[in-house]
């Protein structure tokens, strides 16, 4: 719907209930209910994960870089850190929160850049896949490190 044609048009009749001044193509396009509530929820999740990230990311940065000599954890220090249950929960919480926030954020940028609904749906699917893979990878990596 990129604007009305400026050639004079034959008036083909006004739909019932149309208000005075009706111009074909000027109607407001509608979503289905699910898409609308999804859009609203996505914003809320993005905001919530953003706020949570202040806690999780702050904790992560302090724990990883300001609690050890030299600012970088060597292998043993990493394993020792992850062995603490609270630390493990914090790191996994960070993993989930950051992936969700990043995925929603990238999708929001693509909504503006992509030309149409189909491209957007495909991009959303790809983002979802990358997010899932990253999540599985992150959890797997944690288990491997804890195990070894």
């Amino acid at each position: 719907m990129s604007g009305p044609s400026l050639r004079p048009r034959r008036f083909a009749g006004r739909p019932p209930g149309a208000l005075p001044g009706y111009v074909p193509g000027a109607d407001i396009p509608t979503d289905d209910q699910r898409a609308s509530s999804r859009a609203g929820s996505m914003w809320l999740v993005k905001a919530a994960t953003g706020v949570l990230l202040v806690v999780f990311l702050g904790t992560h940065l302090v724990a990883q870089h300001f609690l050890v000599e030299g600012g970088l954890r060597d292998y043993d220090a990493v394993v020792a850190y992850l062995r603490h249950p609270v630390a493990l929960v914090a790191e996994l919480g960070l993993l989930v929160t950051v992936i969700v926030h990043a995925a929603l954020g990238v999708r929001a940028v693509l909504v503006d850049l992509l030309p149409g609904e189909r491209a957007l749906r495909r991009a959303t699917w790809i983002i979802g896949m990358v997010a899932m893979v990253s999540l599985v990878y992150g959890i797997g990596l944690t288990l491997v490190v804890l195990g070894g």
Binding site: M1, I28, Q33, S36, W43
Partner: protein, 247 residues
């Protein structure tokens, strides 16, 4: 002392295809103390080029017709004093609004946006927030009724032009329509608030907004469309005017 000369760069374009457009330069006399930008444009048309296409009507910021870009910023040239935007030396650039189809040169076609606003519907009068009569001590005046005034929005489409989201998404309803929707729900004179909220509660409606706030920054009438878009979001989250269908 003669009036200084201003170098005016005006975008010329035939029809809605911008690829044949270009800037044309005029030198025109201007009095920074008295002239508005529109005065300069009209003088250019009158004295140098009658083929210049631009819109103007009320000349006092009521009709929202003359909106254009002055040095890249959305303004109403009828009330923009030349001395506010011109340093006396540099050239001044006039371009048509962004994100709205161009008819020719500086004139744009606001048809789709205006019709959407009218279709919401947005009535053009509203109750005044503060009653001037009570402020002046007049009470118990049953004959006068509720004081009314015109809606703030001039439908000048400066907000639509300023919005970077609108420049990327032609289906975005835009700040003008969304702000009108919030007003139509806030004061529903003849409309159905539930239906209006459903109309804008979409991916290309209120959820497309990226909180840039450029719309409110350029609005010449104090509509603050950005705040109204946020207000619509809160209406949805609170579950106001929930229509019959389950989410």
């Amino acid at each position: 002392m003669p009036d200084p000369t201003i170098v005016l760069r005006v975008w010329r374009q035939q029809g809605s295809d911008a690829s044949n457009g270009r800037f044309e330069t005029f030198e025109v006399q201007a009095d920074p103390r008295r002239d508005s930008v529109l005065d300069v444009l009209e003088r250019t048309w009158a004295e140098q080029d009658h083929t210049l296409v631009f819109r103007h009507a009320c000349h006092h910021a009521s009709c929202g017709t003359c909106t254009l870009l002055v040095d890249g910023r959305e303004r109403l040239p009828c009330v923009t004093a030349l001395h506010d935007v011109w340093d006396g030396r540099s050239s001044m650039t006039l371009e048509p609004l962004r994100n709205v189809p161009v008819v020719a040169d500086l004139a744009v076609d606001p048809g789709v946006m205006l019709t959407r606003v009218a279709g919401l519907p947005l009535p053009y009068v509203r109750a005044v927030e503060a009653d001037a009569r009570s402020a002046s001590g007049v009470t118990d005046d049953a004959d006068v009724g509720t004081a009314e005034r015109f809606e703030d929005c001039l439908e000048c489409l400066a907000c639509v032009s300023a919005c970077p989201v609108a420049s990327g998404d032609p289906d975005y309803l835009g700040p003008a329509v969304l702000a009108a929707a919030d007003r139509a729900i806030e004061e529903p004179r003849s409309g159905d608030p539930a239906r209006i909220l459903d109309l804008v509660n979409t991916e290309h409606g209120i959820w497309q907004c990226r909180s840039v706030w450029s719309c409110s920054a350029v609005c010449p009438a104090g509509v603050d469309p950005a705040a109204r878009i946020m207000s619509l979001r809160r209406r949805v989250w609170r579950g106001d005017h929930r229509s019959g269908s389950a989410p």
